[in-house]
Subunit: 567 residues, 2 copies
């Protein structure tokens, strides 16, 4: 492609609303343009990158035995009511009525459509397992679309769905997809971690992993082991519980001592005004599960993980108790509640159980206790992992590495749905014994446009984008320094013709612009190799510039094909 | 692909609502499934065909210098109000509101988006010409979706847009696109004609051609020359006007004679009750252009073409005059109006002007005149082509062939928009002299899903589909007759492995089904070549079946690669 023909305009400045680097650079380099909030046009350069990612995804899906189909964006609203997601999705679901006032939603995902499709086509175990996928535009009316393609309202996704006769089959399909996702992200040169995660609005209770592109701008926090490959969403990260607690002899250990802490209701106040370190304090939090109250104890420098508590209790959503409720249960307002003498069920985080002694609320306004001993001053009946992982925690898997935290952008998600949808929508099959069984499902998504942005976010410098060769819009950028120099032009044209003829995607900057403009645009656009045809052309030399390495090297024109063929 | 894994179910009967053969067969052979009226899922077989067509379209677009981009489906409604198409499109335009109650339309086409995009990117003549295209889902809320993919509400289109500094540039872009369309349809083995057509709701006044797949079920009528390549939409087909009219000597020709035709108001009644042939009658029709009345004369066997009349008069829409108006203008009700003595402007179709004498209304209830002579009994001041072409008319281009009529399905449309959109949406550029000029635009569409259906409509027999090799879902269908026969299975598997290894797309029917079922399904699915591995396998023989020719031939397995490589 000749740059004089290419439909691209580079910008010196990105619009002010572009906050993340990828968003700024994709706009400045002319890859995308905004039509409305969260709605973008892919310009020719952007379309090329998007198609390359699509093709990688398609190849890996096909190689893993998934079959491509294409389901509609227009989905009857009844389907969503049947699956009970019509209300759950809320305002993110875009809705419209057709001319006959029949209601439709614009698919943000396709569980309903695919489940009823497979239900209507397959009735025997003989035709399972099955994995289908599609590459399709999705619509989600984000409350606050942002970061360009990272959180858009119209975006491109690959979604796959597996159908099995049982959980063992699902395990296998899940593994195939998990591995395919790894290959896809590797081929796109993404730095990522597959992390254990929680179920969202998508439903189901099964195992699931998020594929997180590591990036400062990510909205998710990922705990990663410094030694092994353990990685988990912070909400999901297990905390290594350490050794078992042995029966202890408390004889000779002094009783707790009350001391005055006027108005010191928070860990921060205790630290500042009474010089007590957070890790020496026990926080006593009174929760309610809607009916009963109970207490959760965590160390002052830790945070309660409500999901873990819910899981331990086997209950639904929990919340901190209201002021009056705390007063009634603990005899004092929050800030001075302590476990000693509390007549509630007490859940003790393992880190608390392991403390020799600690500071707690005294159960009396403006007083705390020093020297409170777990197991003596309160019961250790319910000890467990009730907190979020924290920096420096020991890895729960290898038991050696320490957890470190990263921000991550979710680019993929694999999820064991089980029978949630098949039961709601009646997708059953007859097993070998002729019994009707619900199909066991998994769903697997990759945000293709989000992946594009994530790669951009990870691959750039101050001058612009730095595309990995596999998804770069072009492999080679020929920069013709002076279009008026006959000799240079001949060399550039010959090189362009030669590279194009052997299938190397080449962009020729044949514009009548100053060298500085060409270098600047080339760095901004971020094609892996630039071949500068300038004064050296007379001696059959071109400058070989490696965008990523930032290196320049004068080489003989005869070497170029060999050099760029291995990019 | 092994058929035991393929997600396809063939049906004996198509659902009753499928009226056209392509719709019935695509459903029965498992290529598509309906989700809602006019909204379909492409199953794996259908997706494969669709992708092959997409790729052909993409290759030809790229080869013609068009650049691919991808514009959103969600389009701000304001844009459509600015272009004044929001109301014109009416109920076909699907509309929705986002969570902030901002109104969007789901793009049925992208003139508004692309025009504003190019407006914002390009300001100098130096960056024109430009052709961009996309392959994108479109939405159109058809009043009566029908014929499966032929008239759907969500469908796949390729749309391209050209931008030039002037009309000469547009002519060139138009020609490039016209030629690319020919190559695309040829590669898809479609039987089609490019016909001159009228502008629809799309706007603009320029030249345009529709690419019509010839088919009995087509909703359009196309006039085609029996000798040259002239083809036109019936509304647009010119009628060869024959020789110029010479001054005639009317002396000795008897005056018209009045005769009684009680209640014979129509051509049919005159023919049946008075034995007068339609081609000997002149129909006198009184029209109004909203203000003035005028008469149009056509032969009894011809139909007035109102567009031609409008063009001749340079006026807007015309309509037949109301009864009272006819009475007032002609002194008699319609059925007995004649041109003789009529004090209105009279437009005379050339075929009428060429009649020696004719029967016309007498201007008196229940009477007609015989022996009315054009040029003597009424003026030939306004002679022209005012009728629809009719079977047997001489071709207006070569003057030798005769026009025949076909039904056609519009699969493509190329259109010189001119400056309609660029003026409304402010897409201007500065020319070499620094003057601001509107860009001159063209638009070019191909219905990709409609093309798929049209090819199916043209390529089938009673047993099923017959895909052209270039877009068939697979090239070869291996039919393993008995999965329990070890020898047959080995031969089939070896053949499958061999063909797949050299890139020949092969479907292996490895199902445990009777031979009859396999043959029936194979014919229904319509893969170009079936290789039957049956009893001959023991002697290294397979049966080579050509789906289109309907031939069978026992060949040596060693010949198969050579044979299928040239399909």
């Amino acid at each position: 492609m000749r740059q004089t023909n290419l439909f691209v305009t580079t910008l010196r400045e990105a619009p002010a609303e572009a906050e993340t680097v990828s968003h700024q650079l994709l706009l400045r380099a002319g890859y995308i343009r905004q039509l409305a909030a969260g709605v973008y046009t892919y310009m020719p350069l952007g379309r090329r990158v998007l198609r390359k990612i699509e093709n990688i995804v398609r190849e890996e899906m096909d190689a893993s035995g998934a079959q491509e189909l294409l389901m509609p964006s227009l989905q009857p609203a009844e389907l969503w009511k049947e699956s009970e997601r019509y209300d759950v999705y809320g305002k993110e679901l875009m809705k419209l009525q057709d001319r006959h006032e029949r209601e439709f939603v614009l698919g943000p995902t396709h569980e309903e459509v695919v489940t009823t499709l497979v239900r209507d086509e397959i009735s025997s175990y003989r035709r399972l397992p099955l994995i289908v996928y599609q590459i399709q535009t999705k619509f989600r009316d984000e409350r606050r679309p942002r970061s360009g393609l990272l959180r858009g309202r119209e975006f491109l996704m690959k979604d796959a769905y597996s159908f099995d006769t049982g959980w063992e089959g699902l395990d296998l399909a899940y593994e195939q997809m998990y591995n395919a996702y790894g290959r896809i992200l590797d081929r796109c040169s993404l730095t990522y971690r597959a992390v254990q995660a929680n179920a969202g609005a998508i439903g189901g209770k099964g195992q699931n992993h998020e594929f997180m592109a590591l990036s400062e701008i990510g909205e998710d926090t990922v705990a990663v082991c410094s030694i092994c490959d353990y990685a988990a969403n912070i909400e999901q990260a297990e905390v290594h519980s350490g050794d078992a607690f042995e029966e202890q002899d408390f004889s000779g250990i002094p009783a707790p001592v009350k001391f005055h802490t006027p108005n010191q209701k928070t860990i921060q106040q205790l630290e500042q005004e009474s010089q007590i370190k957070p890790q020496d304090i026990i926080k006593t939090l009174i929760y309610t599960d809607g009916g009963k109250n109970f207490a959760v104890l965590v160390r002052g420098d830790h945070e309660v993980n409500e999901l873990k508590v819910q899981k331990y209790l086997g209950c639904g959503e929990i919340a901190l108790a209201e002021y009056d409720s705390v007063q009634a249960a603990a005899g004092v307002g929050s800030g001075f509640v302590g476990p000693a003498g509390l007549s509630l069920t007490i859940l003790v985080d393992a880190a608390v159980a392991g403390m020799a002694e600690a500071v707690t609320g005294a159960g009396e306004k403006d007083y705390h206790l020093r020297g409170v001993v777990p197991g003596r001053d309160f019961l250790l009946t319910h000890v467990g992992d009730f907190r979020n992982a924290a920096t420096g925690d020991i890895c729960p898997v290898c038991g050696e590495g320490k957890l470190v935290f990263h921000q991550g952008i979710e680019v993929g998600h694999v999820f064991k749905l089980g029978t949630v949808y098949s039961e709601k929508l009646g997708a059953t099959f007859l097993d070998a014994a002729g019994r009707s069984q619900p199909m066991v499902m998994g769903c697997y998504g990759i945000g293709i446009s989000r992946l594009l942005s994530s790669v951009a976010e990870q691959n750039h410098d101050d001058q612009g984008l730095i595309w990995p060769a596999a998804i770069a819009p072009y492999t080679v950028h020929i920069l013709l320094m002076s279009v008026k120099d006959e000799g240079q032009r001949e060399v550039a044209e010959a090189l362009y013709a030669q590279l194009t003829a052997i299938g190397i995607e080449t962009l020729l900057d044949d514009r009548d612009e100053r060298a500085g403009v060409k270098f600047k645009d080339s760095e901004l656009i971020g094609i892996p190799v630039a071949l500068v045809v300038g004064k050296g052309a007379a001696e059959q030399k071109v400058e070989y510039m490696d965008r990523r390495a930032g290196t320049k090297e004068l080489i003989d024109i005869s070497e170029t094909v060999a050099r760029v063929s291995v990019v």
